[in-house]
Amino acid sequence: MANSATDFTSRTTAVDGKSILRDGYVLDFEKPIVEMEQKISEMKQIARASGMDSLTEEIRRMEKKAAKLKHETYRKLTRWQKVQMARHAQRPYTLDYISRVCSSWTELHGDRHFADDKAIVGGLARIDETPLVIIGHQKGRGTKENLLRNFGMPNPEGYRKALRLMKLAAGFQRPVVTFIDTPGAYPGIGAEERGQAEAIARNLFEMARLPIPIVTIVIGEGGSGGALAISIADRIFMLEHAIYSVISPEGCASILYRDASEAERAADALKLTASDLLSMKIIDGILEEPLAGAHRDVDKMAALIKKTILTTLKELQKSPQEELIRIRHEKYAKIGFWLE
C-alpha cells in the first residue's frame, strides 16, 4: 500500500490554534479571558454592521484590558494550572509540531516483534537541510482517536519501535529528536506480559551509549518512566507550560493523602514545572510559549521548536562521538542531592 511520504496528520486531527472558542475546551482560569474575547468579537460585529464609531474606543479599551488579564494569568500560573495546561484538550501534539517543523516526514511503523504501537510515532524527517529521526508520544483528539492512540500511553512495543528507530539513526549517523507527551507507560496485563519494565530499562541502557546527538523536548505531559524511556538526551528542553514528574499529582495524592482530590497540593509538592526542573538542573532550557499557551499560536510555537532543534544539533554535532558520549555520561553522573 502506497503511503504518502508526507503523511503529516496520520489520522490525528491537527489543531488550528483558533478553535478554542468554537470547541468549548476552556479551563476554569481561562474563562474570564475567553468571555472577554467573545464580547470583543461581538462588539466588533455590531460596530461593523451598524457603523457605530462610538464603539471603537470601547473596543480598544476592552482589548487592552484583555491583554493585561491574559498577561497576568498566564505568566503567573500555579503548578496545578500548569498541569491543566500541559493536558489541555487543545494542546498541540507531536504530529502537530512535526507537520510544521519538517519539510519532509516519512513515518515508520512497528517494533518488528509484536505490533505497531500508535501511542508512539517515529520516522525519518528533514528539517531544512538536516536529516534526522523524530520520535514522540502521540495523544489523540476525541474519543475515537484517543482509543487508537491509547491516550498517549505506550505499550512495550512502542518503546521497542522507538529503540529500533534510534539504532537506525545511529547506524547512519543521523541525530535523534524526541517529543515527550504522555501520562505514563500503560499499566495493563498485556503490557506486563510483554515486559513493560524490560522495554523501558533497555531503552535507558541503550540511549546511554547511542553514538549520535539526542535532543528531547517535553511538549506536554512528562509522565514518569513512560516519558524517561525516550528521553535520555544530551539536551532536554521543556515548553513553558509543560510538566515532567516522577508520578502524576493524582497518583501522589492518593498515596500520600489517601485522596486523589488533593492533586493540587501534590502538584505543588512535586515541583514538576519547567522552571522548577531548570533550577534543579534536570533540564537545559525552557521554550517560551505564546501568551495563553502553545495552542493559541501553534505556528509560533513550532517556529521556536524548529529553531531550537537546529541550533542545538549544530552545537552538539561539533563534538566527536566519544566526546559526546563522555559528556552525556558525566551529565547523568552528577544528578542527585546527598550529604557526604
Binding site: 499499566p187 535507558l204 518512566g225 514528574s245 512535586l270 514538576l272 553522573a333 542531592f337
Partner: protein, 283 residues
C-alpha cells in the same frame, strides 16, 4: 559446603530484629507455625510452602559473602531534601523515622567482598527502609559501586527489593533511573558482568531500570516483579488479575528472567555464573 555454615552464623543476630519475638513464627503465606531456630537455619524460607520471608541486607550479605571479606562502601551518604517536600509530614522527618524503625540509613547497602572467592561488588536493597525506594543516595551508592567495579575489574551483583522511585525526591529520583542505567551501560562497555537478583517485591522504576539490565537476571521464587503495581493495573482495567500474575514464575514463563533460584542455592548458583564470566581469573 563451607559457606553454608558461615552464612548461618552471620544470620543469627540480625534475624531477631526482622521476625517477631518468640520461639515460634507464623508463615505469612501458608500460616504454618515454624520454630524460629528452624526458620533461621533455612535462610528464612518456610519449610512447608517455600515462602521466602523478607531478608535484611545484612542477612543477604552474610548469605553470599565469604566470611571476613566484606567491606561496606559509602555508608556515610545521607539523603537531602531537594524539593523541601512535605505531605502530612516533612520528608526529613519520614527519613528519621525510617532510620529509627529499621536501623538502616538508606535503602541499599553496597560494598565489595568475595563470593566463593570471586571478587565482586555487591548491592543489597532493604525494602523495610522507605519501601526500598530509590532516591539520590541509592542512585549515588550504586553509581559508586559500579565505578569501583570498573576500577578493580570486578563483577557487580545487585539484590533488588524496591517499590520504585522515591516520590519525595520528585524528578531527582526519576533521574536516578537514568543515572544508574548510564553506569551499567558503561560497565557493559568495560566488559564486566552484572548479575541482577530480584526479590519480593521489585516494581516501578527499579524494575524499569537496573533490575532488568543484568547480563543474567535471577529471581527468588514467587517474588512480585513488575512495572506497574497490581493495584494500579486493577484500577485501570477494572478486571481481576490472573492467578500468579507478576510473580517470578510468570516472568520466567514470559521470558523476562533467566532463572528462579531458592535462597539456599543462591550462593552456589551465583558462583557458577561468576565462573563462566571470570574463569579462575578473578579469584
Amino acid at each position: 559446603m563451607d559457606w553454608f555454615r558461615k552464612g548461618r552464623e552471620g544470620l543469627t543476630p540480625q534475624a531477631k530484629r526482622e521476625t517477631p519475638d518468640g520461639l515460634w513464627v507464623k508463615c505469612d503465606s501458608c500460616g504454618e507455625i515454624i520454630f524460629r531456630r528452624e526458620l533461621e537455619k533455612l535462610f528464612l524460607v518456610c519449610p512447608k510452602c517455600r515462602f521466602h520471608f523478607p531478608m535484611e541486607s545484612s542477612q543477604y550479605v552474610s548469605l553470599l559473602m565469604d566470611e571476613g571479606t566484606w567491606e561496606e562502601m559509602d555508608a556515610h551518604l545521607r539523603p537531602q531534601d531537594p524539593l523541601l517536600f512535605r505531605d502530612t509530614q516533612k520528608y526529613p522527618d519520614r527519613v528519621a523515622k525510617a532510620v529509627k524503625n529499621t536501623g538502616h540509613q538508606e535503602a541499599i547497602t553496597t560494598g565489595v567482598g568475595a563470593l566463593a572467592e570471586y571478587r565482586v561488588t555487591l548491592g543489597v536493597m532493604d525494602f523495610s527502609f522507605f519501601g526500598g525506594s530509590v532516591g539520590s543516595v541509592v542512585g549515588e551508592k550504586i553509581a559508586r559501586a559500579v565505578d569501583r567495579a570498573m576500577d578493580e575489574q570486578r563483577a557487580v551483583i545487585v539484590i533488588s527489593s524496591s517499590g520504585g522511585m522515591r516520590m519525595q525526591e520528585g524528578m531527582v529520583s526519576l533521574m536516578q533511573m537514568a543515572k544508574v542505567s548510564v553506569k551499567f551501560s558503561q560497565l557493559a562497555a568495560a566488559k564486566l558482568p552484572f548479575i541482577s537478583v530480584l526479590t519480593n517485591p521489585t516494581t516501578g522504576g527499579t524494575t524499569a531500570s537496573f533490575s532488568m539490565q543484568g547480563d543474567v537476571i535471577m529471581a527468588e521464587p514467587r517474588a512480585l516483579i513488575g512495572f506497574a503495581g497490581p493495584r494500579v493495573i486493577k484500577q485501570t482495567i477494572r478486571q481481576d488479575l490472573p492467578e500468579g500474575f507478576q510473580r517470578s514464575e510468570f516472568l520466567l514463563e514470559h521470558g523476562f528472567i533467566d532463572r528462579i533460584v531458592e535462597r539456599k542455592d543462591m550462593k552456589k548458583e551465583l558462583a557458577q555464573i561468576l565462573y563462566f564470566f571470570a574463569g579462575e581469573n578473578s579469584k
